[in-house]
Symmetry: D2
Subunit: 452 residues, 4 copies
Amino acid sequence: MASTSPIEKDQPNTSEGSVTVLGRALSSVITAGREILARRRPNLTAAEGSTQALVDLCKELIEHRGEASGLALAQEITEAYLELSAEARLEFFQRLASDFDIDREALLEATERYRDDPDYDKLQAITRATEAPRQKLFRRINMAPGGTRTLVALRGELLQLLRQHPELKPVDSDLKHLFIQWFNKGFLELRNIDWASPAVVLEKLIDYEAVHEINGWEDLRGRLREDRRCFAFFHPAMGNDPLVFVEVALVDDLPDAIAPLIDREREIMEPGKFNTVVFYSISNCHPGLAGVSFGNFLIKNVVEVLKKEIEGLKTFVTLSPVPGFRRWLNKADLSELVDEALIDKVRAPVNRTVMEAEVQAALTRLCAHYLVREKSGELAKDPVARFHLGNGARLHRLHWGADLTPKGLEQSGSIMVNYLYDLDKIEINHEEYFDEGKISAAKSVLRQLPQD
Amino acid sequence: MASTSPIEKDQPNTSEGSVTVLGRALSSVITAGREILARRRPNLTAAEGSTQALVDLCKELIEHRGEASGLALAQEITEAYLELSAEARLEFFQRLASDFDIDREALLEATERYRDDPDYDKLQAITRATEAPRQKLFRRINMAPGGTRTLVALRGELLQLLRQHPELKPVDSDLKHLFIQWFNKGFLELRNIDWASPAVVLEKLIDYEAVHEINGWEDLRGRLREDRRCFAFFHPAMGNDPLVFVEVALVDDLPDAIAPLIDREREIMEPGKFNTVVFYSISNCHPGLAGVSFGNFLIKNVVEVLKKEIEGLKTFVTLSPVPGFRRWLNKADLSELVDEALIDKVRAPVNRTVMEAEVQAALTRLCAHYLVREKSGELAKDPVARFHLGNGARLHRLHWGADLTPKGLEQSGSIMVNYLYDLDKIEINHEEYFDEGKISAAKSVLRQLPQD
Amino acid sequence: MASTSPIEKDQPNTSEGSVTVLGRALSSVITAGREILARRRPNLTAAEGSTQALVDLCKELIEHRGEASGLALAQEITEAYLELSAEARLEFFQRLASDFDIDREALLEATERYRDDPDYDKLQAITRATEAPRQKLFRRINMAPGGTRTLVALRGELLQLLRQHPELKPVDSDLKHLFIQWFNKGFLELRNIDWASPAVVLEKLIDYEAVHEINGWEDLRGRLREDRRCFAFFHPAMGNDPLVFVEVALVDDLPDAIAPLIDREREIMEPGKFNTVVFYSISNCHPGLAGVSFGNFLIKNVVEVLKKEIEGLKTFVTLSPVPGFRRWLNKADLSELVDEALIDKVRAPVNRTVMEAEVQAALTRLCAHYLVREKSGELAKDPVARFHLGNGARLHRLHWGADLTPKGLEQSGSIMVNYLYDLDKIEINHEEYFDEGKISAAKSVLRQLPQD
Amino acid sequence: MASTSPIEKDQPNTSEGSVTVLGRALSSVITAGREILARRRPNLTAAEGSTQALVDLCKELIEHRGEASGLALAQEITEAYLELSAEARLEFFQRLASDFDIDREALLEATERYRDDPDYDKLQAITRATEAPRQKLFRRINMAPGGTRTLVALRGELLQLLRQHPELKPVDSDLKHLFIQWFNKGFLELRNIDWASPAVVLEKLIDYEAVHEINGWEDLRGRLREDRRCFAFFHPAMGNDPLVFVEVALVDDLPDAIAPLIDREREIMEPGKFNTVVFYSISNCHPGLAGVSFGNFLIKNVVEVLKKEIEGLKTFVTLSPVPGFRRWLNKADLSELVDEALIDKVRAPVNRTVMEAEVQAALTRLCAHYLVREKSGELAKDPVARFHLGNGARLHRLHWGADLTPKGLEQSGSIMVNYLYDLDKIEINHEEYFDEGKISAAKSVLRQLPQD
């Protein structure tokens, strides 16, 4: 997918005349820088696709002083990185971990000196010694056009290797540390996305939608009609590439199934009738931004924006899957929770045909139990529940038969859930959840729990 | 001047429909947050203007978890800070230095543990221990609307107190560290400023122009005619408030005096005749961004932008003052440099009447000497020379009688200087200057030097 | 004032990237056209500033077929026109009236033919014969960049000559006919003007304000603060040059004097307290658009925009002068209206010193009489009353001592008036005014009338 | 296709904050107007879908004076028109022709009076009498939001009925007369369309492409890559709905077939290599704008825009079908033009299999003959030839086998043609074509002509 390539041509934001100047300017400063580099190393051919060549460029960049040629170097590095094979990238990450790490001896010396005389200069020396040289490297790469995107993509790949290569953890840690600074919430830009948005933005929605796939442009158009909304956070250094987006349905009743919400042929409701806002899909666009989270903040902002825009809105809920439910179901000891006789039945694959009422009821009860009582450490076991409960939402309703797609049947046994966002309560819920492990749930949900 | 107040109403950038949404959204999230705060502390009146009240808010913010109420708290802090008197602010800075400093014992313990077992976790513990809690505080303040501006203004005031209150240095250091991350060059936006720019931007030029004062709107208009340009860097978190701007004249010959360049009544040259670009004024807008410099990068970008826009440009120079010249002249031992008989004459105040040719020549020679040979450490003694030579420019020409304003006569003895920006040479010049202390100067300047 | 020149460089609207393309494109098509023209008439020097030369160009343009060279010709014409002296322009207008008039013989023949056989083709022949060739000329001039502006400026000058040169009336008539098509209300663009608007727009307000002069940029800024609004209509062919604008004050009570409204030092009211909207100044920007009126439509739009934006607005009024009052007062037979003894006193120049209560009351009564009962034909005698009553507004209140400027004292005897815009009533008022000559006035005003 | 509905919700141009205000304002003025109307005709239900009801509304609008209620009426009319069946629309057009026609008696009287005394007032009376009341009706409809679009769509339908209903011609004539004023070239806006354009614009390209169908969004994206361009004219009253657009390919050689140009999988050429611009598709978007042509002007503008943007462009050509060729071929007397023996063969349907070289050559010669020598009146017989030759282009090259689509084979016998746009020559060509019927053709084409 060309569109997700991290350093594709920097999208000129054609609607903002004066702003585009920068792109052009930078690229010519880089051109100047390239000529300077070329004069300095007449015999050097461009980096030959080897890890060593890339590492050499990185070392040059760290020690470098010229600004224009520094930008040119930074761009050479992003290009060379993209040309590496998967194996070479792993090797490169390992070199980042080893060759660009802190100097332990220097750190130890600095701490000794501080112990002898704990003044401010000695402290600063420690601070400097704890910062690995690769942080400087990343900061310099970040200055080149597309630099931020490259680094985000790089961390995305790094994260996939982390489990098998724990030695790369410090590299990840340094990137995350920088991202937290750079993606400070104060720098985010909330944009409304609709059918008048640039195609270059819209195609990203199609690429990134993670929850309920968008099948092409007609499907997208259906999700951007007058009774739907879409909001996203953008960051100035990422151009038209969103960080996270949420798809919203405006309806007149609590939704109990996903299909009607994304049905292209649905009837469009009159605007005056909307009373309920449904967040039916939230997609993080960049795996490389894991741990630098925006989804929570996005939902809160959208609640407020919609409250102001549309009169009469009363309820703000999600319609969410329970992705860990059947995995748990198949492993758990259900003997205390359900009749022996039903155990095999609730574990049987759910399909689109009719299910016995008794089994259906048992499955729903088990799901309520799973969401309210099963924990992973102090927190909810289900990952989606963890996100929304962590945001301070309340578990509001369970709907059997709400998602009949293969994935919905397989993971959630067809069940979907509403989490309720009540801005007056989310902070208290949030704190009680993290401090006491208390899961906020509606009475009707609590009544569904299997009796102790 | 209302316009420089750091948290004036966040300027809605009316030309970008979707973007303004954020401002509104944030402010309503904050409203929600305020209500939450109010419920929690029913008996608390708003911070009463005392340092202690502000310090308490800061402590609350650091320990705080709720997002909406956190934003509300951050805004309370910026408001409370602005209401403090000058004395109370000093006290507040001192509390930031003392109450929000690192825990030395914890740091020492962390270093011990690392010495015993230098693994990654122990290292991270040191890193955490070296980060003063006020860094977290500043990051959280930064999330509120106007937060970045408040912090920049705060550091601006802090810097003025630093000489007399060296104990505040660590606070400054932490702010600078954060600013370097937040104001990464990759996030800057270069904008062309002209008479079609919003008044809210233009009035900042009038406020901030530091070199050759802009006397009201008519004067500003004169500086934005077809034969003049203005460029500035903006940062997304600072809205319409520029970081640094440069004023540019397009002319057909090397300029030897400032008055014709800023003369409102000048004749406008035909566009086809331009061959020389003069940077006649560079203004940093925020003292609080000292040490996070952009001027150098701005000039290089503008060189490239103009090269592309206008054919036939050959020379890129400044027309700069020599602000330290007469201060040096009055203190220096001139006996080796000039005839005994002239010493008093060159030291006499320069005024707008005619000067003897001999004195004039001597003064110019002495200025060349001052610029090329007088150092402060390894670097040029004159602050403006230090900036341009550090950027890699070359000292190109001296002009006697170029600045007849009182300030120009008093500081520079009427002399102005062209520094030449030749992008092909600036990196080499830059390196030779920093590595060898070599000052790049044109032959014609070198010939003016008093003989050894 | 350079800014009002009709064909100043077409203001590039820098905020709309793709749109500016047109300007450039057109100008290069014109360049191509110029070269074509030059090849065709190698011996012709540019029009030499004579009326004859300009008339020749106009004839060439009418007969012309090439598109690019036609645009070039159109631009030559606008340039040649601008170089003419006042006398030469009058002569040019007279040539437009005589040389570019309809062919009467042809028209008579067409009508004969139609009488014999009134079919559609014969009718079309009449239509064609009634259209003077100068209409085609104007349409072609209109295609060149700045063409519309030139024609608007041209009619502005023409109108000043009309009384002494009634033979020019047909020229005016043709221009007005075209303007009514081109400035169709469907093409107008309502813009909000504030301190974030481009300076190039703001300076037009200073230039055009016709009612209460704006004294420079600081004064303008005062009129664009949070408690004030400004709205204008723009037309695509006139770029950043407004057609008409209205200045609005948001207040909490019916205003009874102009000075507090435009006082720069006034206190800014809290937004929540606004309940009254005051239209205190409406300025038509182009005399050449006389008779193609927008002011009425602008006020109605602004009423609706503000109603939506701000809650709690109840009253929409003007604060208007009575410019014809004292002129009438000095000529009218007052014997039936006021005590003999007071006649001289009410006619005495009003100044800022105290006036006897009796005289003041008499003057106010006479003003009410003048506004409600004195007619010019079927319509109100006072020009401002004619405008607002014609819009369907109601005469709501008179305020003695409301305008103490020299002009206010001289023309209106210090009196100002509120006209009330009640959207529910304006159409009925409008019709009763035009059909029955009925002037809508509040009871309190009617009570002030001298008894019959 | 909802997107082509003429009065779909007025597209808010979200990128221009202040401009959208107008839409909202107008719609609320209309709301006010609707209430006024409702009060006046309490017993009237909304127009019941009958022609008579619509005609009544039209008569009301013509006589109407209130502005707000006039807008409301205008909108009722557009809505009522859209609800009419095809038959009812025809009937409505006929009523426009009969009930809203000029008053012949009045016209005759006016001409008599003019004959007796040919002064200006009498002339104006004729002018007024020649203007049918429906012109006023159309002008008033045009003021409502979407009014222009409705009228353009209305004329589109009217034109289809004209042949069978010649009595409707005057209605068409009046609309065309108004459109020529409203769509004056000076009001057009040239926009570059690319992948950053709003989806709402892009989908129009898919809808409107008339020459080489665009098969969905992926196909569109292919046509907007770096080696392709698209330009369109827009009119302020038509929002995001283009009037005409041209698709452009940048290549390095004269194109001799259409398939490679629109191949999605083609290789993208390096920008530096472009030397030829191919206009491979020009689409008029609105049948209702027939006779108000922009295509010619669009091409010239694009030539100039591209010349400035890209260095090294030398040739500007079309790649055009010859849509009338085989229709002519099958009817014409070919005996003088080609060997008896070949006549049947050249008339045989062309398909994608190999053709005898002799037949292929004969077919090409016949096509050259058709284009250069066959006339319809004074002008070229082929409609596409008529357009480009009328623009002043030269017939440059014929390519056998250039269009192998069913339509290309059926109409043009697989042949496509380059017309060359040489801005220096187009005006001369244009004039020689219209004055002397001379068809400009390259020597290589002339050599292909069958010998006389």
